[in-house]
């Protein structure tokens, strides 16, 4: 299933709130966390990372993986952490109202107005 617009950024920030990760680690974190519900495309992810770094929500540097391979590691900046908090709140309330609206329509449809 594809992600809703804007939710990828929030999920990336959330993933990195656990600690520095490289791109594939972030992919795994999201895919595993959603039990395969959300599929992450590499290009979209990396673009999101670049975008977030540009906004100085992330910091990046090349590092070495457990398998001794080079990878670009990302970590949250204080601004990123603050942004994640704000984004979480607004996404949560958006999802709640979305759910409420979607369920409300099925309930009231037969009655009409």
């Amino acid at each position: 299933m594809a992600l809703l617009k804007g939710t990828l950024d929030a999920l990336v920030l959330k993933a990195l709130s656990w600690g520095p990760m490289h791109g594939f680690e972030i992919t795994r974190w999201i895919e595993d966390g959603s039990r395969g519900e959300f599929a992450i495309e590499a290009a979209a992810l990396l673009q999101a990372l670049h975008r977030l770094e540009e906004r100085r929500l992330l910091r990046a540097a090349w590092g070495v993986t457990e398998n001794n391979r080079r990878a670009r590691y990302y970590s949250l900046t204080p601004a990123g952490r603050a942004h994640l908090r704000a984004e979480t709140e607004s996404l949560k309330s958006a999802v709640a109202s979305l759910a409420a609206m979607l369920s409300a329509r099925t309930a009231s449809a037969p009655g009409g107005r």
């Binding site: 594939f24 599929a39 290009a43 990396l46 975008r51 540097a61 070495v64 457990e66 990878a71």
Partner: protein, 897 residues
């Protein structure tokens, strides 16, 4: 995995750019590959075949690989660019904070630099405000570029750009074919009495032709302006247009005033309209505009073509160039020369863009002042640069250490620049405030009419100028320490143990060069001021030909409507003179039509009975018999006027010495008969010369006396005369008594002006004094800055050589010899500066040649005096720090470090 972060952290600590945009693409590519590798490895680890795993990973890229690559390159590049810009800004903010800390650590430097810059930028702001308002701002008229001033010239009288004869102007208007319309206004300021609004009040009045406002393209704020026909309404029913200022200040901004009738000049006048607030003609200060009021019959009168007294403004037809307009004008001029040989034989004409004409004579003084403040700014910059250089030498070790630790030179450069930007900003801000105040002072102190604009305001142009000047300053004095700091090898500096303040040869050379230029510029500025001072002193010493002390001058203009006959006018001035003479403390009294050094009187050609026609111009005045006694003008030949030279008596006239010398060389003028016409006819009045009196300077102290006729006022009555009273005591004390006499004679009469002749004389020099004082104050500031520079450089040298001086003194050298080591350096540099300054000034002072009175631009006395003064001051400025350094205890000095 952590080391990467540490490295980035260190990078950021040193504030170095992370990556260039070109490298960002390669970076993104590597990242994509690493992601694919990880994915493949993940899948293989879960038992997939390597090839299948790779294919699966590629499927998850989200599109074809090349396209993904391009997208990622783009986003990575954008990221780097944005990060870099951000980083640069952050660095700059950090540099500014660093600069602020540094400045706070040395507040005396900050204060000195700010003050120096504030003075220079303040002076620049004020002068540039004037330059901008006078020279750069377009006139407040419609399409001002199409407006020209038309004028007349005549080689016979050395006339150029002179007033035109109204009849000629009317012919230009009708025949030239290149002007959309031509308007005129008499070139003399008039006054008019307003009655019925409290005390009788004098307003400044200016007659204009009816089309004047249409030519300028100005519409009334309220009511209307004049109609073309109103030029010709003679002395019939009259209308007036008020300036906005008069409407507001005199009539309380009463909107119902328009269309009403008020008593102006003793007769009812309809207020036709009010002009907009921003309307002003440079050089004209007017409350009430009146129609010219000529008569149709005037046009055929010879005086309408012989007398030259109107300024003419024309609007070019659309598409007509200046050359085209001039060609059209010259055609008419040639025709008039042919048709009216008696008046126009050699009368030429020309045109000048209106703006250029109106501000023309203010241009040079303004540009000179502008040049002076620009030089002042350079001196200030050099001064601050030297201050920073001295300080940079003190911080050499710090800079070396930072270089050694890996800071880029570029970064040091920027830090230094940030500091100078900070200093320049402080100085610029303070200077702007100072300049705002200075502009007000400039307006308040300017002699009337010097700056031909009603208001000089801060404009975007002034702000832009200050901003640019400030930025240039920052670069100029920021550059000096940078250029030097860029060269030194850190290792060399760090090896120079403990002698941090020693400075290098390079710093010294820079400082020396700055000092030389500073001295040179300060000297050039002072030389310019010196020349003006000498010229001004010379002007003050000019013998005006009369004794201005203890004389009160009271101008009274009689409204023609009530004083409509010569006998009424003569009766009034006769009573005025008699009653004034009877006042206690009055030695003598007389009336005269124009005081010397005041507004000009009229002039004409003349003829001597029995001689060829003369091509010459003489000025005229009318006066009462006591004039020479009041003004202490000597009688050289013949007799003075007496009470017997009445209206009915034979017509007589006095001449001044210049006239006698010019037109009667080697002959006795007494008894000769003259007429005020070039070619006398049966209508001419013949007068007999009865006396020769001493010359008075009529126009200004800087111009020689003109040939002059002095006629008894009963024989040539004027409705505007000045009462002159010679007193035993301070003349100003007599003013109330004279006011009472005037009020007693006619309670509805307003006095035009009351001032002492000393004041009149001083006012005639107001413009020279204003320029001299301004220039002198700029030179003074420049000089102080220059000397502070000398002091600073020598003090630094003394500090550097304190150790050496201590050793020499310990070895038995005398304090004087040791001091000389340092003083010599200051004097040599000053000497070089003086030579350079003199060379500079020899070129520059040519520009002010026309502003000088009987002083050559390369006046040796001024040059020698000012140069010696500079040398003397520089000696003192060098000796002070040298003496202090040599007094230091040798033991103390040798023990330190």
């Amino acid at each position: 995995m952590m080391p990467g972060f540490i490295r980035a952290g260190v990078r950021r600590l040193f504030q170095l750019a992370v990556r260039r945009p070109e490298e960002a693409a390669a970076d993104a590519e590597a990242e994509l590959q690493s992601l694919l590798d990880e994915h493949t490895r993940y899948l293989t680890a879960r038992g997939m075949a390597p090839d299948a795993a790779r294919a699966e990973a590629l499927r998850h890229v989200g599109g074809p690989l090349p396209r993904a690559s391009i997208l990622l390159h783009r986003s990575a590049k954008r990221r780097e660019r944005s990060l870099q810009a951000h980083e640069w800004l952050e660095d700059f903010a950090a540099d500014l904070r660093y600069g602020l800390r540094v400045l706070r650590r040395s507040p005396s430097l900050a204060v000195a630099a700010t003050l120096t810059l504030a003075l220079a930028i303040g002076a620049n702001t004020a002068i540039f405000s004037a330059v901008s308002a006078v020279m750069l701002r377009p006139l407040p008229f419609a399409e001002p570029g199409r407006l020209v001033m038309l004028w007349e010239k005549n080689p016979d009288f050395h006339w150029d750009r002179e007033d035109a004869a109204p009849a000629n102007m009317l012919d230009w208007r009708e025949q030239a074919g290149v002007f959309a319309d031509v308007a005129a206004y008499p070139h003399f300021a008039g006054t008019i009495t307003l009655n019925g609004y409290g005390e009788p009040r004098l307003l400044k009045a200016q007659p204009v032709t009816g089309n004047f406002f249409d030519v300028l393209g100005v519409r009334a704020e309220l009511g209307r302006t004049f109609r073309d026909a109103e030029t010709w309404e003679g002395s019939g029913p009259r209308a007036a247009v008020l300036s906005y200022r008069a409407w507001r200040d005199v009539f309380g901004a009463d909107r119902s005033l328009v269309g009403r009738t008020v008593e102006l000049g003793g007769r009812p006048v309809e207020i036709a309209g009010v002009l907009p607030a921003r309307f002003a003609v440079p050089g004209l200060d007017v409350d009430v505009w009146e129609p010219a009021g000529w008569n149709r019959t005037d046009r055929t009168q010879i005086w309408f073509r012989r007398a030259h007294w109107v300024r003419v403004i024309a609007r070019l037809k659309p598409g007509v160039t200046l050359e085209g307009a001039d060609a059209g004008l010259q055609k008419v001029v040639t025709r008039l020369q042919h048709d009216f040989p008696a008046t126009n034989r050699h009368m030429g004409a020309g045109l000048t863009p209106l703006h250029e004409f109106l501000v023309g004579n203010t241009r040079l003084p303004l540009l000179v002042m502008f040049g002076a403040v620009a030089v002042l700014l350079l001196i200030a910059c050099a001064n601050v640069a030297n201050l920073l250089l001295v300080r940079a030498a003190g911080r050499e070790r710090e800079a070396a250490l930072r270089l050694a630790l890996g800071a880029g030179r570029g970064r040091l450069f920027r830090q230094s620049l940030a500091e100078s930007v900070l200093l320049a900003g402080l100085g610029g801000g303070a200077g702007l405030a100072l300049g705002w105040w200075g502009t007000r002072v400039l307006i308040a102190l300017q002699p009337a009419g010097m700056l031909p604009v009603n208001d000089i305001a801060m404009s975007w142009r002034v702000l832009a100028y200050v901003l640019v000047a400030t930025a240039l300053c920052a670069v100029m004095f920021g550059l000096a320490p940078i250029l030097w700091a860029g060269r030194r090898m850190p290792a060399d500096v760090l090896r120079d143990e403990g002698r941090a303040a020693s400075g290098t040869l390079r710093t010294r050379r820079w400082g020396d060069a700055l000092l030389v230029s500073q001295v040179a510029m300060a000297l050039a500025l002072t030389l310019g001021a010196g020349l003006l001072v000498r010229s001004y002193l010379g002007l003050q010493r000019v013998e005006p030909g009369f004794d201005s002390r203890h004389v009160l001058a009271v101008r009274v203009d009689l409204p023609g409507i009530r004083f409509d006959s010569t006998s009424k006018i003569l009766a009034f001035y006769g009573d005025l003179e008699r009653e004034a003479r009877a006042l206690p403390g009055v030695e003598a009294a007389a009336v005269v039509s124009a005081v010397p050094l005041g507004p000009p009187s009229w002039s004409s050609q003349f003829a001597v009975a029995g001689r060829e026609a003369l091509d010459g111009q003489v000025v005229h005045r009318e006066l009462s018999p006591g004039y020479q006694k009041v003004m202490r003008v000597p009688l050289l030949r013949g007799r003075l006027l007496t009470a017997a030279d009445r209206r009915e008596a034979p017509y007589v006239v006095l001449i001044n010495q210049t006239l006698a010398r010019t037109y009667f060389p080697g002959r006795d003028p007494i008894g000769q008969r003259i007429a005020f016409d070039r070619v006398p006819d049966s209508s001419s009045t013949w007068r007999t010369i009865v006396g020769v009196v001493g010359d008075e300077r009529q126009g200004s102290l800087s111009e020689p006396s003109q040939p002059e006729f002095l006629a008894p006022y009963p024989q040539e009555a004027r409705s505007g005369m000045t009462l002159l009273v010679r007193t035993l005591d301070e003349p100003a004390l007599l003013a109330p008594a004279v006011r009472r006499i005037v009020a007693g004679l006619d309670p509805d009469l307003a006095i035009t002006s009351i001032q002492t002749m000393d004041r009149v004389r001083a006012a005639s020099l107001a413009r020279d004094r204003f320029l001299t004082v301004l220039m002198l104050s700029f030179a003074g500031v420049g000089m102080v800055l220059g000397m502070v520079g000398v002091y600073g450089v020598v003090a630094q040298l003394a500090r550097r050589r304190t150790r050496e001086m201590g050793i020499r003194i310990a070895l038995g050298a005398k304090a004087g010899e040791v001091q000389w080591l340092v003083v010599r350096h200051g004097l040599v540099l000053t000497g070089v500066g003086i030579v350079a300054g003199v060379a500079m000034a020899l070129g520059a002072t040519q520009v002010i040649r026309t502003l000088l009175y009987q002083v050559a631009p390369s006046d040796p006395l001024t040059f020698v005096t000012v140069s010696s003064l500079v040398l003397l001051t520089a000696t003192a400025a060098s000796w002070l720090p040298a003496a202090r350094a040599s007094r230091a205890d040798p033991c103390e000095v040798l023990r330190s470090d």
